[in-house]
Symmetry: C2
Subunit: 400 residues, 2 copies
């Protein structure tokens, strides 16, 4: 266990005063109807009421929003946003204002809330580290530099893919050295409880399944992912192939790797967009064996599963398919519908209970709302350069 090294240089703490906005001045919706949409070009979040279909607030001065990620504390008091400029901002979900900013690094890639809601963990590129903050006060309480030992030598590595896991753990992965960390957030020094080696390096992203059972690491340019059973981390990772064995190697187009946030689980299946394959790989959720692959209209970018576990919706990138969304039936694995929504779809999410899908079209400066039953576009909210869509329902789900 490394001693905590909290660098004053990287931790410039700034608590912002409450501006005293009264409750009566707030929009009439509730915490549950307000969704935060990343505005990539303006360092801001638009707050959209998804019932009234309008922007009801805006949080500004947030830093570099490319791949900005937002999480919510389970008390629904705060959202936390991590940005590529290293700024971690706390957003008050009642006043819709920034209530604190902390600079934990100069480049932060991922963020998570602990299972008990008390701690925020961030994974950082530069300087490489994991930082732990108190979710109530935003104070930095611990820091693990991205350092491990290989062949007797200390090596430094960027950290990514931090998630909350059962037992009040954080799990993350070193990018430049193959190693998964399991951090115990129930103990005051937040010790790194397990360091699980991975033979393959160049990890670029990771996910945890919603039941907290598996942690999956993707590797740059590789057809394989590393799967760790979090109930038996001492057994180490196993390698799982994403390629369809029925397709000859020379016809495979495995040139790019899918972002792991683009994966989804529905019923007993894991769905993985195979970029440059024009296919969606389907794996068994429990054994991680390859089941099948689904031919698609183009190169898939992002897959989301309905909360009702009946459908997976897939977005695309590339000429001719930009703006298309295909709906796959989870049981039959057939494409049941192809929709045209808006160009350059950057993100999608189902609203709770599965009745609506929110889709951000970056090129059309629009957040689209699609009725999940009729597949019709029922709402269009103008937003400048929208990207990630973060709803407060994530507060109640492990790993989101």
């Amino acid at each position: 266990v490394r001693p905590l090294a909290i660098s004053a240089f990287f931790v410039a703490w700034a608590a912002l005063g409450c501006n005293g906005t009264s409750q009566s001045a707030l929009p009439e919706g509730g915490v549950g109807s307000r969704v935060f949409v990343v505005e990539r070009e303006t360092e801001s979040l638009a707050v959209v009421d998804i019932d009234r279909l309008e922007v009801v607030g805006r949080v500004e001065g947030l830093g570099n929003m490319r791949h900005a990620v937002m999480v919510f504390t389970p008390d629904l008091k705060s959202g936390y946003l991590a940005t590529r400029s290293g700024q971690v901002s706390r957003i008050d979900l009642e006043t819709l204002e920034r209530s604190a900013d902390v600079f934990t690094s100069m480049n932060t890639i991922a963020i998570a809330v602990s299972q008990d809601g008390r701690w925020i963990g961030t994974a950082e590129y530069h300087p490489p580290a994991v930082t732990i903050l108190d979710a109530k006060t935003s104070e930095v309480v611990a820091r693990h530099p991205g350092v491990t030992v290989r062949d007797g030598e200390e090596v430094t590595s960027r950290v990514t893919g931090i998630v909350d896991a059962p037992g009040n753990r954080f799990v993350c992965v070193l990018m430049d050295v193959g190693e998964i960390w399991v951090i115990d957030a129930s103990r005051p020094d937040f010790p790194i409880e397990h360091r699980v080696p991975i033979a393959r390096d160049e990890a670029y992203d990771a996910l945890i399944t919603a039941d907290g059972h598996y942690y999956v690491v993707g590797h740059m340019g590789s057809e394989h992912v590393s799967v760790l059973d979090l109930r038996a981390p001492e057994k180490g990772v196993r390698e799982v192939s994403l390629v369809d064995p029925s397709i000859a190697a020379e016809r495979r187009g495995f040139t790019k790797v899918p972002h792991l946030a683009s994966w989804t689980v529905a019923r007993d299946k894991v769905f993985v967009p195979l970029v440059a394959e024009k296919r969606l790989a389907v794996l068994d959720r429990w054994t991680w064996e390859f089941i099948d692959s689904v031919p698609l209209v183009g190169d898939p970018l992002y897959a989301i599963g309905s909360p009702l576990q009946t459908e997976v919706w897939v977005s695309f990138s590339g000429e001719g398919v930009d703006g298309k969304v295909q709906v796959i039936d989870v049981d039959t694995l057939e494409v049941k519908r192809t929709l045209d929504v808006g160009e350059r779809i950057y993100h999608m999410d189902f609203a709770p209970r599965g009745g609506r899908v929110l889709i951000s079209s970056n090129a059309e400066d629009t957040l689209f709302v699609v009725d999940a039953r009729t597949y019709e576009i029922t709402g269009r909210v103008p937003i400048h350069s929208p990207s990630g869509i973060y709803g407060p329902w994530r507060a109640f789900v492990l790993g989101l």
Copy 2:
């Protein structure tokens, strides 16, 4: 489709003025940390902050709280409570005050919020009916008397088991005549779209699986339940047995029927407490075939599944086992732990992300908090005669 008959007699509408409580006077937690606990004897709800472990508010004057049920709108603006005296109260989740009361009947048994969050449906014994209210204004917008036709005659029946279902439907069941109703809450007259007959009558309760696929009706004194596939309601119900075929009939103790809110689903299995059997029946989630039954320490009352799908917790009633909770491993179906909590456990629920279990002990006037990892009691909140526990996370889940 019956014409809407809104009886002024039973619908005494009373909007309560906002008392102007300012935000600063409210407790420091957020909407997500405030849980509503039914206080059976005092016509009230205690509002408990589950992080601070204290009562932070109380809603009074709610009517007969025996089997009172609470639901939450997905915008997390309101909770709705239905009581046995027919009073339906709207509770403002920010001010923690009653904001409207409506008397939809003289005896209401069940309540649901539509998938789109716009409508509240109540199932009523007396007079028998389903009433639909506007979730924003609490105004009654439709009413279907509990009437159907059998052998050419109009017959009247109490209504129960109302739930929200995919496609913005309400589903409920007539108790005194075997018939399930599917109501379309997307059309202005809320038509009864399907009337599905059930050969067996004396329905006493019903549930919908969390994926919205099946509606299950229990029948008084019967070892069978009726299962309706909501994706194909025209195919009608099928009967499913709850008894373990490996146990001889003369040794079975099937004397009482389990309340269907006491069932739970984890992974591929449905867990059913068999009252007076000292067993938990395990059915296949997709085929509804009997898998196994788990021997327990006594007569089970209530089963809840961990959000992580690893464990089912079971409470008991009866001498010698009162206050015990058994933890069953979902994979091995073995009892992995037997806990002693508080006497006369009336309700249990997992907090979101599965880290804690809330347990109301009526005889000890206490809401217990149990750590789901260590199985230790970590909190005790004094509450007078606690019963049902309703957390706002239900807002985001179909059927709760």
